[in-house]
């Protein structure tokens, strides 16, 4: 299955390859001489369609990626029975020990006891699933539904000083119904 990361990777490679092809084409023809007005007329025609294409693409992607809005409503609770209060501190995470079930939305209420941290939720293969900032004086609500039971990791995704790289914790997700994996 393609993850978001894979899709982004493919899109990026394709985009960079496209840019590279245009440059190679222009570099290839650079040392031969043609009438400037002719080149400009042709490029002008391409430009119009290119910008129109970009505009349509941009508007389409904006609409498709902003509705529904990808960040949960911060004013209201998600209305799930799984609410997990998370506090980041230099250099560790305070998480309640309680069980988390797969298949049910989990509302993480994330804050920090000192400096900025980043609450990054990873699966056991090391893939980043979701994140939000952990900030002093602010509580950010992140809603995530674990599809499968298993062991998940929390890593810090905002630089917070000397042991930033070592600031991790584990979250155990049980199968729906509460059985441990």
């Amino acid at each position: 299955m393609m993850t978001i990361q894979d899709e982004v990777g493919v899109l990026t490679l394709a985009g960079i390859a496209g840019v590279a092809l245009v440059f190679l084409y222009v570099i290839h023809g650079a040392t031969r001489k043609a009438d400037a007005a002719r080149v400009e007329a042709r490029a002008g025609a391409i430009r119009k369609w290119f910008f129109l294409g970009l505009l349509v693409l941009g508007a389409g992607v904006t609409a498709a990626t902003l509705a529904p809005f990808p960040i949960p409503d911060q004013q209201a609770s998600a209305g799930t029975r799984h609410v997990v209060d998370v506090v980041g501190h230099q250099w560790g995470w305070r998480l309640p020990p309680g069980p988390i079930e797969a298949g049910i939305p989990v509302e993480f209420r994330v804050t920090s006891a000192d400096v900025n941290h980043g609450f990054g939720l990873y699966d056991s293969s090391g893939r980043l699933l979701a994140q939000t900032q952990a900030m002093p004086g602010v509580t950010n609500r992140l809603v995530y539904t674990f599809a499968r039971p298993g062991r998940y990791r929390v890593l810090c995704l905002e630089y917070c000083g000397l042991v930033h790289y070592g600031m991790s914790a584990e979250i155990v997700v049980s199968a729906a119904g509460g059985a441990r994996p």
Binding site: I4, T12, A36, R47, Y165
Partner: protein, 486 residues
């Protein structure tokens, strides 16, 4: 090819000295800071052993130093070309250099003597909350260093603003706003004046924003009952950081506009779309910074939406106008490849390609799994290392090129190959790391990430070798003072 070195660009003795100071210092700093970068990659590769404490000091110096040095070198480009159209003050230009060097000394002292490791973004309250790793004094010296540097840039911009207003009446006319909707655009209105005016406006605001958060943090360091709102401080910090880095690109690109026609033999003239692009970017660059805060869910929703839409939009106007200009100007121009034009084409390629991963990351739903992974250094090293640096190098190669119109030497050819191959591999490894969800700013990497780090280390050696070669040639050329610039 006498038009390659027009009379208006001749330097007096004093001017040449000042310019050489900027450029030679810039080259030396780039090489030093690149070796800091290599050191970090080697540590992440587990090929060398440094303490996390040292790693973060090096990271702080590399980040702050690189951002500052790019600003310094690109302001030299702006000064060099802008002084053809308006009367800039040489003492102010020199004062900017002096402030920069003093500021840089404070930054380096704070990091390596005071052990400050709060990163170039000095995100409040980390500078005053190090858990005993560095003192409030070290943080204060670091922040004062920034303020001194900022003061230099502000002086430079104020002088340029004064000079531009004297010739063009006001900043709006210098930007060409009077031609956005009607009238015939004056085809000889200089792109340099348009770009400089934009930078003066946005970067003065950016630096002021930075100064506000720096001063508030300084007060907080000594009067802890004065507490800042962390989210407000973060907004100001990223506003400053975003505007400052972008302004460097916009100053460096002036060299592209000026030099391009001299090497392709095809003049280009001011047009309405070009003015629109710069006017639009003046606004966009100021409002786009919330894309650094997309994972701060407490930000108002409208700010996030602006962050995403403006990210798509900001990439476009100036960048597209420039890429279009360069591509059409080069295509079938019958040019002969010389170092400056090769570097310009490389720079515009690096800028264009680097924008791809950057824009994609400006999408909230992508940012959720890419923010603060190595994807981020991946895209900004792409357009800084392969975009802005080549622009600066193109300018310097132009300065040292003689009337002889030398073809590219074997040494330079080797350097270009190493820089391109090394640079692409180096940024590719950051992007690959980001794809694999590796967090950025980790002093120690898990074993499964190390192969990327190791390939990146080797690639960085190539880049540094190329840079040494370029720098040696340029420094020799600058100090020898080519006859046409005397």
């Amino acid at each position: 090819m006498s038009t390659r070195y027009p009379a208006g660009e001749t330097l007096t003795r004093g001017e040449r000295r000042a310019l050489n100071l900027y450029l030679v210092s810039g080259l030396l700093l780039f090489i030093l800071l690149m070796s800091f970068g290599l050191t970090m990659r080697l540590a992440q590769s587990a090929w060398i052993d440094i303490t996390p404490n040292h790693f973060y000091q090096i990271m702080t110096a590399h980040g702050a130093g690189m951002v500052g040095t790019v600003g310094l070198a690109s302001s030299a480009v702006m000064w060099f070309f802008l002084r053809k159209y308006v009367r800039l003050s040489l003492p102010v230009f020199v004062a900017n250099y002096a402030c920069f060097m003093l500021g840089a000394a404070l930054l380096l002292g704070a990091t390596f003597v005071g052990r400050f490791g709060g990163a170039w973004t000095f995100l409040y309250p980390l500078p005053v909350h190090s858990m005993g790793v560095w003192s409030a004094g070290a943080a204060a010296v670091f922040m004062v260093g920034y303020l001194v540097m900022g003061l230099g840039f502000l002086l430079f911009y104020l002088d340029a603003m004064r000079a531009i207003v004297r010739v063009y009446g006001n900043l709006g006319r210098a930007l060409g706003l009077q031609w956005l909707f009607r009238g015939t655009v004056d085809p000889s209105h200089p792109a340099t004046v348009v770009a400089s005016t934009m930078v003066i406006i946005v970067n003065s605001l950016g630096i002021l924003g930075g100064a506000v958060v720096l001063v508030m943090s300084l007060v907080n360091a000594y009067a802890s009952e004065f507490v800042l709102d962390a989210l407000f401080a973060k907004n100001l910090t990223y506003f400053f950081g975003h505007v400052f880095v972008n302004s460097s690109i916009y100053m460096a690109v002036i060299g592209v506009y000026e030099l391009l026609p001299r090497y392709t033999g095809r003049p280009w003239s001011m047009s309405r779309p070009f003015l629109w692009a710069w006017a639009a970017n003046t606004v966009l660059v100021l409002i786009v910074y919330p894309h650094h805060l997309l994972m701060d869910f407490a930000m108002p929703r409208w700010a996030m939406v602006i962050g995403q839409i403006a990210s798509y939009g900001e990439g476009l106007p100036v960048f597209a106008a420039t890429a279009y200009l360069v591509l059409t100007n080069v295509h079938r121009s019958g040019l002969r490849w010389r170092m400056p034009i090769v570097l310009i084409v490389l720079a515009i390629f690096g800028w264009s390609a680097g924008i791809v991963p950057a824009i994609i990351d400006g999408t909230i739903s992508v940012n959720r799994v890419m923010h603060n992974t190595l994807w981020v250094p991946g895209h900004f090293h792409f357009y800084l290392l392969l975009g802005v640096l080549p622009m600066l190098l193109a300018f310097m190669y132009h300065l040292i090129g003689g009337r002889a119109d030398e073809p590219i030497s074997r040494g330079d050819e080797l350097g270009l190959t190493a820089y391109l191959v090394g640079g692409l591999t180096f940024v590719g490894m950051f992007l690959a790391g980001g794809h694999a969800s590796e967090p950025r700013r980790y002093a120690v990497h898990f074993a499964e990430w190390r192969p990327y780090d190791q390939v990146a280390s080797i690639a960085a050696v190539l880049v540094i070798a190329a840079m040494l070669l370029f720098a040696a040639r340029i420094a020799r050329g600058l100090l020898r003072a080519p006859a046409e610039l005397r």
